[in-house]
């Protein structure tokens, strides 16, 4: 017995101070040389600010999309072949539908957990695109896209486009009445492109609309090609993030030369894994309680039928809105037609918007002549012109989105459709123009507010022995104390921070 105990102790000693795990890591390091890099990675610091979580929402909803999507591919049949429906959803019994539609209804009703997976998939997609947009807004308004991170901004914009495109492709697959109408519109938009439009549309659809090629083609794009590109670009996005390290908001102890926060292991890993579960949990709860895309209520696609209040998923709303309110200016001459009423709102407008997004870092560099490397983030109010420009574009997009439901608005407020359309045409032009100066002035005001953007500290009220009450201010919170920002050259375009006002109640506003 004592022999066995000694041997055990000896064995343990032979393993070294870190036991079996240590031994396994040694074996790994012998072969791959990962010890030093691994330690550095475990020590990687993640800033604790909440706004850094927005990108995580996007990443984790993409993970959920992959998991639920794999489940759906096991049951979905990407075929336009016509079959007679005889499934468990009785109102559709005996109807001629495509196999794509039939299999989608079947996987919703006959496959265990199928409906939940489908609804989670759809919700995760809406959340995915939404999280990308909000994450992008964070990066934009805090200046995180500046040198050296321009490439990662470009990757991000590309990912947004791919996410929207893949969302549309997936939305089209069930071949129901609403999504079929969406494909019909996409076909007509391709058709509208001058010179090459008809060829593009015929090659994508394998002939005139609708044909039988489009469902299988969209399927392989949706489940294989686009996701592969997204995975590759997300990997590159994260690699650059590790390579360039995080940005951070200025604060005491935070400089251009360091990152302050929690280490990768175990703190960030626990938080982020927990957050993955939370995102998954919320998506599952939405899938359980909030019905989305009930295609059996819409019915199968039939090019000669249409339903009222047809609207795409939210991220296509701005395009639909633009198509609704753009005037009917078609160009017809010299034996040719350029359907400007389609080409401009559906091709030129998104082209301009996304190109501005791609070009913004270079554009801002040129305007501000700021070629410095930045790791400390801006408060949006410190950069009034950038913030105003962003607010203006977001206002335009919001107005276009609202314009995608002109018919619903007209119905709801008992207005004439003409009134609503006219109103939206005016709002789409006026509000972005107004948003710029209003945001600019708000930023300027915020700069002048004493302690603006900082947490209020409590006043300490004391009572003297004579019964006199005295109020005295407590010192500011640690992170809110004045701090030194690295003296990087401040370009003319970017206004310097105003000096702290000295007297209470006196604001210094620079104009």
């Amino acid at each position: 017995m004592s022999d066995g105990a000694t041997t055990k102790r000896q064995q343990k000693a032979a393993l070294g101070p870190y036991g079996k795990v240590g031994k396994a890591l040694n074996e790994l390091d012998d072969r791959l040389g990962v010890a030093r890099g691994g330690r550095t990675f475990m020590d990687k610091i993640f800033p604790d600010h909440w706004s850094f979580m927005l990108g995580e929402i996007a990443l984790y909803s993409f993970v959920i999309l992959l998991v639920t999507g794999v489940f759906l591919t096991l049951y979905f049949v990407p075929s336009s072949a016509i079959v007679t429906y005889h499934g468990s959803y009785l109102p559709l019994d005996g109807q001629k539908v495509t196999q794509a539609f039939e299999s989608t209804v079947n996987l919703s009703f006959a496959v265990r957990g199928g409906l939940l997976m489908r609804q989670m998939h759809h919700w995760a997609c809406d959340i995915f695109v939404g999280a990308i947009v909000v994450h992008m807004a964070r990066v934009f308004f805090t200046g995180a896209f500046r040198k050296p991170r321009e490439l990662n901004w470009t990757l991000g914009v590309t990912l947004l486009i791919l996410a929207i495109a893949n969302g549309f492709l997936g939305y089209s697959l069930p071949d129901d009445l609403v999504s079929g109408t969406g494909i019909r519109i996409a076909y007509s938009i391709m058709l509208s492109i001058p010179v090459v439009g008809t060829y593009l549309a015929f090659f994508v659809f394998g002939g005139n609309f609708p044909g039988t090629a489009v469902i299988p083609r969209f399927f392989i794009l949706h489940v294989l090609i686009v996701p592969l590109i997204i995975i590759a670009l997300v990997s590159a996005h994260l690699f650059l993030l590790v390579r360039q390290k995080h940005t951070q908001f200025p604060g005491e102890g935070r400089t251009e030369k360091n990152v302050v926060g929690s280490p990768m292991f175990p703190v960030f890993m626990a938080k982020t894994t927990g957050f993955l579960f939370i995102v998954g949990g919320v998506t599952a709860l939405l899938g359980a309680f909030a019905q989305i895309n009930p295609i059996w209520q819409f019915g199968p696609y039939d090019a000669a039928r249409i339903s009222y209040a047809v609207q795409p998923d939210w991220y296509m709303g701005f395009l639909d809105g633009a198509l609704r309110i753009w005037p009917s200016w078609s160009f017809m001459a010299f034996g040719h037609t350029i359907p400007l009423e389609v080409t401009i709102p559906a091709v030129v407008l998104p082209g301009i918007l996304f190109n501005i997004a791609f070009a913004w870092p270079a554009l801002e560099r040129r305007l501000t002549k700021d070629h410095e490397i930045h790791h400390l983030l801006d408060r949006p109010s410190e950069r009034p012109r950038r913030t105003a420009a962003g607010a203006s574009v977001l206002t335009l997009l919001a107005m276009l989105f609202i314009a995608s439901s002109t018919d619903v608005i007209a119905n709801f407020f008992h207005l004439s459709l003409n009134t609503v359309l006219l109103m939206m045409r005016i709002l789409v032009i006026v509000t972005p123009i107004l948003a710029y100066p209003v945001t600019y002035l708000i930023c300027k005001e915020l700069q002048g507010v004493k302690g603006g953007g900082k947490r209020k500290t409590p006043n300490l009220v004391t009572r003297t022995e004579e019964g006199e009450y005295l109020a005295s201010a407590t010192p500011p919170y640690r992170d809110d104390r004045p701090h030194e920002i690295e003296p990087a050259p401040v370009p003319i375009f970017i206004e310097p921070e105003p000096d702290e006002p000295t007297e209470s109640g006196v604001r210094t506003v620079e104009r």
Binding site: V196, T198, S262, P327, T337
Partner: protein, 312 residues
Amino acid sequence: MSEHDAHRTPVSLSSVSANDPRLQPAAKNPGTVEGVIAVTFVVGALLVAGFGASYWVNAKPWILGATLGGGLFFLGVGLVAWGKYLMPRGPFVEERHALANSQSDRDAFAAAIVERGGGVLKRRKLLGGLLGGGLGIFSVVALFPLLRSLGPLPKGTLFHTDWRAGTYAVDQTGRRIHHGDLSVGSIVTVFPEGTENTDRGQAVDQTVLIRISNDNFTTQKGRESWGPQGYIAYSKLCTHLGCPVGLYEQQLQLLVCPCHQSMFNATNGAIPQFGPAPRPLPQLPLYIDGQGYIRAQADYDQPVGPGFWERA
């Protein structure tokens, strides 16, 4: 700087000693927090097990989702709280080293590419040009089979429909339309006989037949004979984006497209009245044959549906 503040200065992880207060949990009462987290984990585990059970018994989808979602949510909240309140509170700092290398490293890198590569190419300009030309030809040629096999050239149904002189108008069930079938003010979707159940019939040939009045109806000049006994027919494809113009406003006699709210005046050659549609709906010339059936005089006189480059 107070005692507490001194411990809030960020330090590097590699320089931190084992008894450093930054390695202590952030929570004031770790015991209580641990209890709360334990409860969330128990609830989470129970719900996840409940998901397994409800899957086993094939429970309703909302029960599956509620147990799965609730379980993941509680496990996640517990894990986040664990990380936030019970793990080393920090803050820690990591140095950021400049990514740029020294100028001599950069020069060496640039020299390797410019001098070595440039030297090779400059000395063999002919070879470089020939190879570039060959690859250029290949990339263009490779596009042909890739693109061309994707679909036919844009012809045929882009320019004409299946309506011919004498084609019977039938409804979706294939029944021929008799001139007594529709009362004044009513509308029906018709197809050229034989195409009512085909994709092509539904996507290209679909036509709305409206009975405007009891007398021959002329919508526009040159179309005097197109609307016998008040029957007129328009292509059902919106000229904006090709949605079916599926709504009919009987009082104003407007055809409305529900996609983008284009409105067409049915009594005046379907001229667009409102919305983004640029052109009238093409009108199908009709006649009523000896037996009273509604038939087409000819195909549409122009391509139906949305605009495109080759459309004159």
